[in-house]
């Protein structure tokens, strides 16, 4: 295996070539420390507030794709082959403000200003992605999603949303003008070498192919496998963990593939939540909505399906849904592969069925079929950028006679692992899918789960809602059901024609 010992990326349009990097040095600490680029702020160092938002461009099929990420939990060495844009890059060379910056000024979108550079970068990412043509205006839901990962404690957000709504009739900016040059530069940086850096005996390894990855994991079974670092990043920033060896999967293009197998979708472990949302969202609207509520944009752009499964969280953003759908997992060790039902992967709290030298390669998700009813619910204190108190995902299959032939009721946050409710499922089989069946399944949940009380919810609330969601699922299955979801209700009311946010705030 050929190893390249220089990390190469573009900071704006300037090539940076770095060696002997601390494997877990964050992008934020590098920007504020070595570079003294002080516009990017640390608000929380855990990827939850967005004050450190930067935009990263990477080459995907010959095109530079720009995405907002949290610099505070991203390791610098993972930027190999990318372009990094910070708030300092947005002003035009003549010193005038970029349209997203000017809109924020005109709409009074900053007060204390500390979160502002992060908002500006999220708005810039939205501007690049959505306001692609003259006349294009991002709708309010898209704006909310773009800004969900940025907390502001001063403004109440209305003026920032107003600023986003001003971003129409986009013209070419100086960053667009450099795009051909940047594209060529990034193409020139791409290679199939294993990138290696490190210091003080600690190593960072970034393979470019799945085979290289398999060899490296086998040779370094104690290594920490890192994808988007949306979880591992916190081990470093919050728990000051020292990671001796890091194997980064983000350069492995082959791991980020989505394959349509006809009756199933196969997602490589390196598929980001953003990419997964586009694919899985097509299977059912609830999957689209569930993935919309995984972290926020910065997290979804970095975090991966494989990482989400491999880290074995008892809550898990996607495992309850994938288990309900009957997904299977492919694990690889060297050249050996094995496949198992995803539900069997989670053995106990903090313990998964993954052997030394093995890694999650892909997950295969069956599509819904005739007679399948599906729903996914995420319950949290706050809708956006929050971790579930509980997550419930249900698949019920009705036979031609209207009786339940299959029930897969999967929950997160109810036990030490994502887990199916066996007793509740048993209560449903062979019966018509009516309110009585739902109530019986609800009653059976007490045999399935003894949840914990913590800061997200009490045990009593978790159990009560776990059951009520079965009632809701049943009610939604009935034709002509009344509105049952507050977010849907609000979105419909809003589409029916209301004022723009914060009428009259913009004094531009």
């Amino acid at each position: 295996m050929q190893h390249r010992r220089t990390i190469r990326f573009l900071l704006g349009n300037e090539l940076r070539e770095l060696t002997d990097l601390d494997p877990t040095l964050t992008v934020l600490d590098w920007l504020r420390g070595a570079e003294r680029r002080l516009g990017t702020k640390e608000g929380c160092a855990e990827g939850d507030c967005g004050a450190c938002t930067v935009v990263v461009g990477r080459l995907v099929d010959g095109v530079v794709r720009y995405e907002a990420i949290n610099a505070c939990i991203r390791f610098l060495a993972t930027l190999d082959g990318c372009q990094l844009l910070t708030v300092e890059h947005l002003k035009r060379p003549d010193g005038t403000l970029h349209p997203v910056q000017q809109a924020m000024v005109d709409c009074h979108g900053s007060q204390c200003g500390f979160c502002t550079p992060g908002f500006v970068m999220s708005l810039y990412a939205l501007y690049r992605a959505e306001v692609a043509s003259p006349g294009g205006v991002p709708d309010e839901q898209r704006i909310d999603d773009a800004l969900a990962g940025n907390l502001c404690r001063c403004t109440g957000y209305a003026p920032i949303v107003a600023a986003a709504q001003q971003l129409r009739d986009r013209t070419t900016d100086h960053i667009d003008e450099a795009l051909p040059t940047v594209t060529r530069a990034l193409a020139a940086l791409a290679d199939d070498a294993v990138v290696e850096t490190g210091r003080d005996g600690r190593r960072f390894l970034a393979p470019a192919t799945v085979d290289q990855l398999a060899d490296l994991v086998l040779a370094n079974p104690e290594a920490t496998i890192v994808s988007g670092a949306t979880d591992v990043g916190l081990w470093v920033t919050k728990h000051q963990k020292v990671l001796p060896t890091v194997i980064y999967t983000g350069r492995v293009a082959g791991l980020a593939r989505i394959t349509n197998r006809g009756d199933a979708l196969e997602l490589g472990a390196g598929v980001t939540f953003t990419a997964a949302k586009a694919a899985l969202g097509g299977l059912h609207p609830d999957l689209d909505e569930l993935l919309r509520r995984v972290g926020a944009e910065q997290v979804r752009n970095a975090g991966t399906i494989g990482g989400n499964i491999a880290n074995g969280s008892p809550i898990g953003d996607t495992p309850p849904a994938l288990i309900a759908l009957g997904a299977s997992l492919t694990l690889r060790r060297g050249t050996q592969r094995r496949t198992l039902p995803l539900q069997d992967y989670f053995l106990a709290y903090g313990k998964q069925d993954r052997q030394s030298g093995e890694f999650v390669e892909s997950v295969t998700v069956p599509k819904l079929g005739q007679g399948d009813l599906f729903a996914a619910y995420k319950i949290s204190k706050r809708f956006d950028q929050d971790i579930s108190a509980l997550c419930a995902c249900f698949l019920v299959t009705l036979g031609d006679d209207g009786l339940i032939t299959r029930a897969r009721l999967a929950y997160g946050g109810m036990a030490g692992t994502p887990k199916r409710a066996a007793a509740a499922e048993a209560a449903l089989l062979g019966r018509p899918w009516d309110a009585t069946a739902a109530r019986d399944a609800k009653a059976a949940l007490a045999q399935d789960f003894t949840p914990l009380s913590d800061w997200r919810a009490s045990a009593a609330y978790r159990l009560a809602v776990a059951g009520n969601l079965l009632l809701k699922f049943q009610a939604e299955s009935a034709p002509g059901a009344p509105a049952t979801r507050v977010l849907v209700q609000r979105a419909q009311a809003f589409k029916a024609g209301c004022d723009i946010a914060s009428r009259g705030v913009c004094n531009a």
Partner: protein
């Protein structure tokens, strides 16, 4: 664009740029959006800067048997370790210096996270790692962790207060109807986006310069001097801006500033302390949580005849500002309502938790939440619309206008304000529509509520009601402005610059806004109590008028015209028949040896307060407002959304309507967050487990109301002679968020046909909403609590 050196071109007829009442952008807006605004962590670091980390206790209440810091000292990069034994002066950093709040715990740990020592190292990472190596041997002591436990022990951190109006006890006995209850109101983490931070640079002799994110530079100066045992004059404290404060940097910066000053003194090197977010949340005080017991007497028309309320507050281990905070809760336990007879008492309880502190509203919001619960109870008991009960109890303008603290409400506009909002928001029709929606939908229920706000403006600690300013004019005509207030995002510097620009009739770009520093304006008051522009605006106006008077006198003599022929206009300085540029006049005045520097001073008139008697006039005036909130609740999960909010708020003659609107909107969302998703959760060991944005949920962008209509009251100047007849706006709008709690309560009440008062406590998390719904359903089934 950055403000450039002013150019003197008298236009034919013009209005200055940035006059008072203009919606001028924030003075730093261009720097905020470009990342060029400097916060303390962005200041160029002096060579040899040490990074400091605090070592924290891992017990809620314990005696320290021994503390072994050898491993900390020997850790890589460590230069110094300091403990209480290293303090040359007093180990005391509390507001008011009551000797109840040490910089470092000495013998006894008082809360989980109590700082024990500090370690200074070459890098921040080294300091953080080293701090974890301490070995502390504790002897656990019984810990009092919540209000219920504290009520049993009964220990207070400061003296309670009682307000009495009429005879509440007799009036309760005589009232046709009475009821009683209790409301629990949660605390709140400030979650300023810029965490606490301080950097100290040692100078010669005893001097030390401290850059710190604080709302109260003079107190930091005083505390640092006190801890180091040096004169106040040796300490200079500088604040250019904060990344948010909200009250959380009024006293809470003392710890960080004193710590870095101590390290700087001990090592002779510059030192910086920026705690991690989790540490910041663990070791800084929060909004006080309260339990309020109330008893109310009323009649069938919903008119309140007597109220008796006891405000028990969790203050934490030390007094800090708990005295004035609990006082202000009592001052707002009437909100807009005349109680006739009242007894209001505070119970500032000591607990083994972090010492609670100032937070936007300063106890007022908790008082007001309790008042609104009382009104809600009366509405359910009488079957009247809560809005009608509110209106029938509003203070009068000529009678029924004396508060429980015996101040007469002289500027009452709540009646017409609420009438206007009721009509504009279409309250009555929407209420009918919502009832129809609820009748048709078994799962989702809507709720609607209108709640008013009356908030008293002035520090109740009378000496704080003073301000100072300093203006220099340079010979190129540029103006250097300094005042005692601090900028935390509220736009204070913009407003004060507008005042000065308006006095001189020069474009605001001519005025250079400078960092607050104790070296320029001394003995400042905290930028708190919404008082920033009232006090500092007047002080700066006063300084400008002093300079103007000198320039007028000089110009009259120099150009030989009467003084009344000299005027500052947007075209320039009129001197008789000619119009001179500001620069020409200033230059001539310099040549004529006229001083071009002046201080300004202001003290709030009319106010006085006798705490022992519970009588006086603590407030110069009141700010008013009202909000209508509409919500939709999922009765199977307790989840909810805020669909629409309509706000009408009183800023008098606003100094800057755009900035004021920003305060109204932001304050509302912050108040809504406090009462909905923001929940502080301690475990049985007294550890705060919601200490980061991953677990403590302030409102996100998507939580804002989809329809959010905000208007400022028009043509309603302050009746008091405030700066350009404006009103303070920092705190009052936070309490507009109470409308959301009541809208949720209205939706919840629908499950029992609006016949049982839901008694929905705060924060109304989805869990608390669902729990309340299920309790109401059970009560409705048995008929318990039905009106």
């Amino acid at each position: 664009m950055p403000d450039k050196t002013p150019i003197d071109i008298p236009a034919a007829s013009r209005r200055i740029d940035g006059a008072v009442h203009d919606s001028r952008r924030h003075e730093s807006a261009h720097k905020h959006v470009s990342g060029e605004a400097l916060y303390v962590d962005d200041i160029a670091e002096p060579a040899g800067l040490l990074h400091v980390q605090l070592g924290l206790a891992s017990r809620a209440h314990a005696r320290i048997r021994s503390m072994d810091l050898e491993a900390v000292r020997r850790a890589p990069g460590v230069v110094a370790v300091v403990t209480a034994a290293d303090i040359p002066g007093d180990n005391d950093i509390g507001a008011g210096l009551r000797h109840d709040e040490p910089l470092f715990a000495e013998d006894v740990v008082q809360y989980h996270g109590h700082p024990l020592f500090a370690v200074a190292a070459e890098t921040r990472d080294q300091a953080r790692r080293a701090a974890q190596l301490a070995k502390v041997d504790y002897e656990d002591l019984p810990a009092v962790l919540d209000i219920a436990a504290a009520r049993v022990t009964g220990t207070l951190v400061t003296a309670p207060m009682t307000l009495r109006l009429g005879d509440a006890e007799a009036a309760l006995k005589a009232a046709p109807r009475t009821l009683s209850g209790r409301i629990k109101i949660g605390g709140q983490e400030h979650f300023y986006l810029e965490s606490q931070i301080a950097m100290a640079i040692p100078g010669e002799d005893e001097d030390v310069l401290v850059h710190v994110s604080t709302q109260h530079p003079s107190e930091v100066q005083h505390i640092v001097a006190h801890v180091l045992d040096i004169p106040d004059g040796a300490v200079t404290v500088e604040v250019r801006r904060m990344g948010g404060g909200f009250g959380g940097k009024e006293t809470q910066a003392n710890l960080f500033a004193a710590c870095v000053a101590l390290v700087a003194k001990k090592t002779g090197r510059a030192a910086k302390l920026r705690p991690d977010r989790d540490d910041d949340i663990r070791i800084t005080g929060k909004r006080h949580d309260f339990e309020v017991d109330y008893q109310v007497g009323f009649d069938d028309q919903g008119r309140i005849l007597a109220a008796d309320m006891l405000f028990a507050a969790r203050c934490g281990f030390a007094a800090d500002l708990s005295g004035p905070v609990t006082d202000r809760a009592l001052f707002h336990a009437d909100n807009c309502y005349f109680y006739g007879n009242a007894r209001m008492a505070s119970l500032p309880l000591k607990t083994n938790t972090v010492s609670n502190t100032a937070f936007r509203g300063f106890g007022g919001p908790q008082g007001m939440v309790a008042a609104e619960r009382v009104v809600e109870e009366v509405a359910f008991a009488t079957g009247l619309d809560p809005l009608d009960v509110r209106k029938v109890n509003f203070y009068g303008t000529t009678d029924r206008n004396v508060t429980p603290y015996h101040q007469t409400v002289e500027d009452n506009i709540i009646g017409p304000l609420v009438d206007e909002l009721e009509e504009w928001s279409d309250y009555r029709a929407r209420r009918q529509a919502i009832r129809a929606f609820n009748a048709a939908n078994p799962y989702l229920k809507k709720g609607l509520a209108l709640t008013p706000v009356k908030f008293g403006i002035s520090f109740t600690f009378t000496p704080y009601n003073q301000g100072g300013a300093l203006i220099h004019i340079y010979t190129d005509g540029s103006i250097h402005l300094n005042h005692g207030g601090t900028e935390m995002g509220q736009g204070l510097n913009t407003k004060v610059a507008q005042v000065v620009a308006d006095e001189f009739q020069v474009d605001i770009g001519r005025i250079r806004i400078t960092a607050t520093t104790t070296g320029k304006v001394p003995n400042t008051s905290a930028t708190a109590a919404s008082s920033g522009s009232d006090i500092n605006g007047k002080a700066a106006q006063n300084a400008a008028r002093t300079l103007k008077a000198r320039l007028v006198e000089f110009a009259a003599g120099h150009w030989n015209v009467p003084e009344d022929a000299v005027a500052f206009t947007a075209e320039g300085v009129r001197v008789g028949e000619q119009v001179l540029t500001f620069k020409e006049v200033v230059k001539a005045a310099y040549m004529g040896r006229i001083s071009l520097s002046a201080t300004g001073y202001y003290k709030t008139p009319k106010i006085h307060w006798d705490r022992a008697k519970g009588q006086g006039r603590p407030f110069l005036y009141y700010a008013y407002g009202a909000a209508v909130a509409e919500v939709t609740v999922d009765t199977l999960t307790g989840e909810y959304v805020v669909d629409q909010v309509d706000i009408l708020h009183d800023c008098g003659d606003s100094l800057n309507p755009a900035l004021d609107k920003g305060q109204v909107e932001g304050g509302f969302i912050q108040g809504m967050g406090w009462l909905t998703t923001e929940e502080l959760w301690w475990d049985a060991q007294g550890r705060l487990r919601t200490h980061a944005p991953s677990t403590y949920k302030i409102p996100a962008c998507g939580d804002r109301p989809r329809r959010f209509n905000v208007r400022l009251v028009q043509n309603s100047p302050n009746v008091e002679d405030t700066i350009h007849r404006s009103k303070a706006v920092g705190e009052p709008p936070l309490m507009l968020g109470i409308s959301v709690l009541h809208a949720l309560s209205d939706a919840v009440a629908s499950v029992a046909d609006h016949r049982i008062c839901p008694r929905l406590d705060a924060p109304a998390t989805p869990e608390r909403v669902l729990t309340t719904i299920e309790r109401l359903r059970a009560q409705a089934a048995t008929g318990e609590g039905m009106a």
